[in-house]
Symmetry: C2
Subunit: 430 residues, 2 copies
Amino acid sequence: MSIREHVMKMKEASPAMASLPSEVRNAALRSVQEALSAHREEIFAANREDLKKAEETGISAAVVKRLRFDEHKLADVLAGIDGLIGLEDPVGRVTLRRELDEGLTLVRVTCPIGVIGIIFEARPDALVQISSLCIKSGNCAVLKGGKETASTNTVLFRLILDAVSGILPDHCLLQASAHSEVDELLGCDDCVDLLIPRGSNRFVRYIMDHTRIPVMGHSDGVCHTYIDEDADFEKAIPILLDAKTQYTAACNSTETLLVHRAIAERFLPAAAARLSEAGVRLRGNAEAAALIPQIRKDDIMQEEDFSTEYLDLVLSVRLVGSVEEAAVHINRFGSHHTDAIITENKEHAETFLRLVDSAGVYVNCSTRFADGFRYGFGAEVGISTGKLHARGPVGLDGLVTYKYRLYGSGQIVGDYASGKKQFHFRDLPV
Amino acid sequence: MSIREHVMKMKEASPAMASLPSEVRNAALRSVQEALSAHREEIFAANREDLKKAEETGISAAVVKRLRFDEHKLADVLAGIDGLIGLEDPVGRVTLRRELDEGLTLVRVTCPIGVIGIIFEARPDALVQISSLCIKSGNCAVLKGGKETASTNTVLFRLILDAVSGILPDHCLLQASAHSEVDELLGCDDCVDLLIPRGSNRFVRYIMDHTRIPVMGHSDGVCHTYIDEDADFEKAIPILLDAKTQYTAACNSTETLLVHRAIAERFLPAAAARLSEAGVRLRGNAEAAALIPQIRKDDIMQEEDFSTEYLDLVLSVRLVGSVEEAAVHINRFGSHHTDAIITENKEHAETFLRLVDSAGVYVNCSTRFADGFRYGFGAEVGISTGKLHARGPVGLDGLVTYKYRLYGSGQIVGDYASGKKQFHFRDLPV
């Protein structure tokens, strides 16, 4: 069967999948959990194969860490499934109940999106998380993971599929493996409701440019930390270090430091010393470089350089004259992901939160908090830098849509158009 | 200034527009209302010009009715603005408040989307409605109306712009007039957050295929009315007549009648007689045609014909064996807009509501109810047949997104990663 034929069958199965009661979806998750636990040795063996291949191609230690699926990662995903089972059902929630007229009641109720295609990086734990989120939210899913963990993914997917067989409808899950299958998937705009690509900015753009299917992806993470003139340096320096160095490869790491001119001379030398000690290379425009001896001549930045995402121990620095100017810089050069102000001045904080047009706007904490787990969502399927449907870390709420149910008793529009009847719009408890 | 230069300025103005308090946005709406009322003669004169041109090109009476902007239409739009002023502010609503840890509080709050481009049909009242909705929701808007009402639109837009001048930020509204300007707008994916095209299916597809900007449009309206075996014919026939004939050009008119086989022989002759009397031409597959003498030989339909949107006094008819089979037909041939079941059987009704994958799923009432006004939304900017962000009639709720505000007091992720601190996730009242 081609991907298209498979996905057409998935589309046909999706209303049945969407209609399952919560208990059945949770039972499927429990079954997945048991299967992964029971077959751990098989998973680890497949993962060792992937790691061996990866090491032969001379992959970095950081990447190996992501590819590895061991007892520790297994315990994490099993605990994740536990958490997910315990979360409130995102499906079937009534968000509006309104009597339009006597015997004519409108009810808005959440429901699964339908068929979701998710293309993700080489991380076996992501495969388990994503399929669990889709099962919990009643969605059918096509999964395509990074090729570096192909063996692990194949075993994991087979175990998951076997575990849900007989509990969930056939065809509710599908694994794509070849890259050509992704291109085939992009053409399925009549049977796939949403694509979630995770990966590089370039990759997400490629997906957007080659499909009519709505895409919820994050482009990149050019996050800012702005040190206001009323900042408490005791908070500012640890936050900045955490935001830059705690995990540089994450999209929520700070890439640009903005500093208010009034405190730049006091703040920058101390901050630069601590950042340099932590191995951070500093870059900045001429004005910033004049205050930071650690900035080398070839690291003096031009205007357009400020949209760079490093994902590394490198930090851009710029001075600004006000919180408003900081917001203008962030809105222009940032990626609308997550940006923080460090200040003790409540008015400045509120101005920043209002003017900065990003999914996450923070006061006095690290941009690294932008994450579904840290927000208490149980898990995330990705972080959206788009503004529509879901913004920021996307958990179960982002995987559902809604329907309007209208319960009538013979009403016709003609009677309202003619004035024979009138709507009275009365909201009822949901 | 080119459209792009204009829209870049609009993008810069959008954080200020988004930050305005509710009172200011309502004051702007009041000012628009007064200006339109005071300059009515100027508007009507411009509209007479448009009508004269339209009549010269031999346009139909139905279209003339849409183009006309007279005392009656003015009264409607002024009342509409009144209603909008009275509606709760969609901006600044807190939808989640969660303490992640001591002194670290996450708040999800609604905010305007930013810059919205709306391309709509030749209806001067739509220009007023759409700009009012955008003002109320704190969004900047680029408006492009149908060319047949260019003179009326130009006067209306100038009056609106003058009325909000000094109340709202400069550059918050822009009128595009030439078709080439639409193409220019499609390229502005770095400064337009959302496009809402209203018009034909082909037009919406064109927009989707030529832009990276997210599009919220409706493709078409292939709505169904399914007469269940347990239908009350006393309800079914008036509902069917209303759904087909009350306003045939609307996207929520029924295009296909599905009838359960068990009652087809009793229901169809009576229904067909009433529909024929009302001027409806009936089409159907061979099985339906065998029961409906009014179906002419060349109106016998093939499978693929059932996805036709007539927008006219024409109705497709098909027999099905169960509510499940009706849902399969609707999901396959429909446009996921609005579909109704007529039944006295609650179980059948619930099965239909669950299995039919449409924005509106109705029991015992006309599909024509799918409309923002009839849902009590005050007004609508369009009806979305997509599933993401907003589905069905889109009112103010569909014109906002949200931000996550995180209020900290020096927290860093490193402390949680090392286990030194733990999240406690406590939801607070919103």
